[in-house]
């Protein structure tokens, strides 16, 4: 094929890595807050959600993936921390983007929606976006599994 890359790698680490990171973040949360006040439930929910995403981003390959980088950057901005990522080589894809002006309108609409969903999707070309989406889906499902297990474990009926 013309633009054959190396086989697209969307490996995701095992579940225990995710669990580890998530529990880590949860324990950090625990240390920070007092979970006694019921009025702050929403805040707590948001914090947990954020912790889930951040831990997922870290677990899933840290700064090697665009979406995880965007997630971490977003989270750090909220905490007003400065995040530094190792410099990547400038890709040639930006050149290509300017050149290929023929875009399938239907596909681009969908790609736009995907971009809104996947963190960091705004700056990516469509093919890169799809790669990131695949990895993101894998990580998300892994995270969901971990959280499900935790919830079931901590609140058995």
């Amino acid at each position: 094929m013309a633009s054959a890359d190396k086989p697209i790698n969307t490996d995701v680490p095992e579940k225990d890595v995710f669990t580890l990171h998530f529990l880590q973040s949860l324990s950090n949360l625990r240390r920070q807050n007092t979970f006694n006040s019921p009025e702050k439930t929403n805040d707590r929910v948001k914090k947990i959600k954020k912790a889930a995403y951040v831990s997922m981003a870290r677990a899933a390959g840290g700064t090697n993936r665009l979406w995880s980088r965007a997630l971490l950057r977003r989270a750090a901005k909220e905490n007003s921390k400065v995040v530094r990522f190792p410099r990547r080589k400038k890709r040639v894809t930006c050149l290509r983007r300017r050149r290929s002006n023929r875009r399938d309108p239907v596909e681009e609409e969908e790609a736009e929606r995907l971009r809104n969903l996947v963190p960091g999707g705004g700056g990516m070309e469509t093919s890169k976006l799809m790669e990131e989406t695949a990895h993101y889906i894998k990580c998300l499902s892994m995270q969901v599994k971990v959280m499900q297990c935790l919830v079931d474990g901590l609140a058995p009926k």
């Binding site: 633009s3 695949a134 919830v151």
Partner: protein
């Protein structure tokens, strides 16, 4: 890495890979075998056939006619590879020599519309993903697709250089990677790039289709994308739901994970564990006396995770409950 090394070797030749196998071989999925099949010495037949082409085209093709000689030598210097004799390639080479004579009639390559050849191009698109098959198999398919349309082959040949230089960018700054345009398609450099991009997107789309359940049945990219978007949204919603549930559950449980984390490194730190759920404590009381905490931490953790991989939630429940007593202290 290994693959990039192969690429480097290939590009260094600048061998005019006019054979259609070049297309397949460039797809790195095959790796070494396809590379070998691509560079058989029998190619010499096709090589010289193309040299009969009008010199301008030949120059264009070969990118630098002076290096063509060195190409042959470097080709043979790769002789450490074993080249299986490929009868199909021979046939194709002979066909090229036929085309060389027809070439004058076809003249310039014009941006011919691809309407008529859209079907074979689609077939090509389908055969492309079958890269993992052997070169022979793909070659057979290609030939059957092509049986009536030899005239367009030279167009393909001419466009190959343009596409080569285009894809050289995409292939990580390799000097000269040869790719072939599909038969009967426009050879404008823009459309070539576009086509390459499209192929990339289709490959990734296939990946996504495999990931998302129920997507392989759907035809058409728009619907598949819809499905993917729905899936991502549902996953995100699930995360939110679960985090809400965790938030409601969490105040009751307070666990300290230093010990767990330390056990990952094999050493056990002092950790305190406090828990306010009586329900759990009752579960833990019996095992806490029996289990030594040091040796079993890691295997317990690992075991519970292994079970989790089988989606057995109950095991984690027991596992997490049993993890806690493995820690040093229990505080109320």
């Amino acid at each position: 890495m290994d693959l990039s090394g192969r690429f480097g070797a290939r590009s260094g030749d600048g061998v005019p890979f006019r054979e259609a196998t070049a297309l397949e071989s460039l797809h790195l999925g095959g790796g070494g075998e396809e590379f070998r099949q691509m560079v058989p010495p029998e190619n010499a037949g096709g090589f010289t056939a193309l040299l009969e082409l009008p010199p301008t085209q030949a120059v264009e093709l070969l990118h630098s006619s002076s290096s063509s000689a060195s190409q042959a030598t470097t080709l043979h210097s790769l002789g450490t590879l074993s080249f299986p004799s490929n009868p199909l390639l021979m046939e194709r080479a002979s066909r090229f020599s036929v085309i060389a004579t027809e070439n004058q009639q076809n003249g310039n390559v014009s941006g011919e519309t691809t309407t008529t050849s859209s079907v074979p191009s689609n077939e090509h698109i389908k055969t492309e993903p079958a890269e993992t098959e052997t070169c022979d198999q793909a070659a057979v398919e290609k030939q059957s697709n092509r049986c009536g349309k030899r005239k367009e082959l030279d167009k393909k040949v001419k466009s190959s250089t343009k596409k080569k230089s285009k894809s050289s960018e995409e292939n990580e700054k390799l000097p000269y990677v040869h790719v072939r345009a599909r038969r009967g398609q426009a050879t404008d450099s823009h459309s070539l790039a576009e086509r390459a991009r499209r192929e990339k997107i289709n490959a990734r789309m296939k990946l996504l289709q495999e990931l998302v359940p129920g997507c392989d049945k759907i035809q058409g990219t728009a619907l598949v994308l819809d499905e993917i978007i729905n899936h991502v949204q549902s996953l995100q919603r699930q995360v939110e739901m679960l985090s809400m549930r965790l938030a409601s559950v969490n105040p009751r449980i307070d666990f300290n994970l230093d010990t767990i984390l330390a056990s990952e490194n094999g050493s056990l730190m002092d950790g305190s564990f406090s828990e306010q759920s009586y329900h759990h404590r009752q579960l833990q009381q019996p095992p806490s006396q029996q289990w030594p905490f040091d040796g079993l931490n890691q295997p317990v953790w690992g075991r519970e995770e292994n079970q989790d991989h089988g989606n057995d939630h109950n095991n984690l429940m027991v596992g997490s409950a049993s993890l806690h007593p493995n820690q040093v202290k229990m505080e109320l």
